[in-house]
Amino acid sequence: MSRMKTMLAATVLGTLMHSTAAAEIAVPIAQLIIDEARPPVLSNLDPEPQDLGQAGADLGLQDNTTTGRFMGHAYSLTTTQVAEGEDPLPAARAALAKAPFLLIDGPAEALTAIADLPEAAGKLLFNTGAEDPALRSETCRANVLHTVPSLAMRTDALVQFFVQKRWSDIVMITGPHPKDRAYAAAMERSLAKFRLDLAATKDWTFDADMRRNAAQEVPLFTQDFGDYDALVVADETHDFGRYILYNTWQARPVTGSEGLTAVAWAPVVEQWGAAQLQSRFQDLAGRAMRPEDYANWAAIRAIGEAVTRTGSGDPATLRAFMLSDDFELAGFKGRPLTFRQWNGQLRQPIPLVHPRALVASAPLEGFLHQRSELDTLGLDQPESACSAFVP
């Protein structure tokens, strides 16, 4: 039970060549991957990669190391995996003892507990896994920046698409898992934000094996929705949603967790130079890059970018720089990525995709904002109750 697997993802590059900076700076980074209980799902089609999230960090380290070679900056990464049900705090303390930068890919409760450790004071933590909007609001922490988009950013992106398409009557099927419930809550908030109607909701209660009888059950299940414009499926564990497509009573688009999805990253993103990032990742990991990988890659690249620009390895200096107007990260999404100064969330476009192509990239044209169109996604300053970031 208390087995802890520690992997040295990469070692510090020994020799530094073509150094333009006089001083040599070591930048040790730690990554904590906290396994969560994963309920069994109906389909066996999509096994979870063993190195999910970790491979993204590995690529970020490679990218940083190449730049560091020219600058005299030596990056290193230590990844620790915490098994399901195990207390993550000892592993977090151990990681923080060695590195001032810690990526946490795990649930919200673990994240805030780690951020509140005395060992985390003055360190810089990155949330690369928890999508809970509350972490960007009332439970935010001053020492935590978020490179993973909040659920609210993802559902806002999708609802912008509904508005653009004039899909005004929306219905939703919600699964039983807490993640499904959280997604449904975020979707309801987004629909209200953009003034769309949630005409009806139904809970998914089937316990049959849908691979065999979806064709019989789903038409009946969706018949009493009547007419609507789009069906949202809240199925974040990807259990039943895939069996809804093409089986609904009405011929209407399926979206949400399946069909048209709003994600931080997908293999179909190839514009804006993304093809290069995709092929670098494929070469490294032997698989396609997933949203979890992107969030971890972005965190390490944000550290790298800040170290490059400031010539410092001090977490307080880097945090101040990342939250300043001078920071921008080239994230292969078509525009520079920056951090929100009120809650530490990385602003980023959200791709709307189906498995074979990019459909659109939110914020969509016409959704305006006085500061940045990217702030039409997720918790805008007046919506966030976060006060830890007030200077």
Partner: protein
């Protein structure tokens, strides 16, 4: 389509009458040849996969094409459109520059973080130089002594001594540097940064930053103002700078570094080429799949010419 291709072949037999602009179509695996007088596409020529960088030899007897996904640089006879041979280029060649010796190509290998130097006579790789991640912009000084590679993810201009083929300096620029040019007899180096939204001007003698040029297009969010390719008018007095998804070309005074004008062109404007007397400028517009012709003196768009899918590079070919 087949009929058009056949027609193009018959046209090859007749001598060309006017100068031409050659455009690579990244997603069509073709070149579009534009007649400068009529401002129409007169030939469409097949290339290797994903053609991007394009440049002619000094006497314009051959044209070099980066066929990125074919992992080669193709050497084409511009009269016949036939591929004469391929050059070893390293993997995924994106952009290159021909050394003033008319013999060595400096090639950015985007997927490999390498700059490859190829001798076009012996058709051999002379050197490979480790640079930053996603090398793209390439330039050689007029005296041939310095080659530059910019790396998009490392955000640097890498300075290569062409004598030793070694790096002698690495200078930071803003995010995603895309294009580099030596100007004013090689005393200045200009580097555009797509995501940073700037052009950095370096003093070549000291490699020190001398100026930074910012852009501000009315009613376009600064995030969408993304400088990419740029070219200079006669005597390097003004630069015309493609601003990507802002769909504008900026006119920059090269003495004061002030932006004087913005010209509306097609969508996601990328690279460009002048005609012989630099009175007309042809810009490739990737997303709209066309080329905008700009009247340089008037600073006005004249015409839009439909080309292939995702036009990328452009090169001038005199025919007289």
């Amino acid at each position: 389509m087949r009929f058009a291709a056949a027609l193009a072949t018959t046209l090859l037999a007749t001598p060309a009458l006017a100068d031409e602009i050659w455009v690579t179509n990244e997603k069509d695996d073709t070149l579009s040849v534009i007649d400068i007088e009529t401002m129409e596409v007169i030939r469409t020529i097949e290339t290797g996969e994903r053609p991007r960088g394009i440049t002619f030899s000094k006497d314009h007897s051959v044209v070099y094409i980066c066929a990125s996904d074919s992992d080669t640089v193709q050497v084409m006879d511009p009269d016949t459109g036939k591929i004469l041979h391929d050059l070893p280029s390293g993997e995924d060649p994106e952009q290159f520059v021909l050394h003033p010796d008319d013999r060595h190509l400096y090639i950015a290998n985007e997927d490999d973080a390498i700059t490859t130097v190829v001798d076009t006579e012996t058709r051999k790789v002379v050197a490979q130089i480790d640079v930053g991640i996603e090398p793209e912009g390439m330039a050689v000084s007029p005296d041939g002594k310095i080659a530059i590679t910019t790396s998009e993810t490392t955000n640097m201009a890498h300075w290569i001594d062409t004598e030793t083929q070694q790096l002698f300096a690495n200078t930071l620029v803003d995010s995603r540097p895309r294009h580099a040019e030596f100007v004013k007899d090689g005393t200045e180096l200009w580097v555009s940064s797509e995501i940073g939204g700037t052009i950095t001007v370096f003093d070549v003698a000291t490699q020190a930053e001398k100026a930074k040029i910012d852009f501000d297009v009315a009613n376009v969010h600064p995030d969408r103002v993304q400088p990419v390719g740029f070219e200079f008018t006669n005597d390097d007095t003004h630069a015309f700078v493609a601003l990507g998804p802002s769909n504008h070309v900026a006119v920059v005074n090269a003495e004061t570094y002030a932006v004087e004008d913005y010209i509306l062109v097609g969508r996601r404007v990328w690279h460009m080429a002048f005609n012989a007397d630099r009175s007309r400028l042809f810009t490739t517009n990737g997303v709209s799949g066309d080329v905008t012709v700009i009247d340089v003196a008037a600073r006005k768009p004249l015409k839009t010419i439909k080309v292939g899918r995702f036009p990328w590079g452009a090169a001038f070919r005199p025919t007289n």
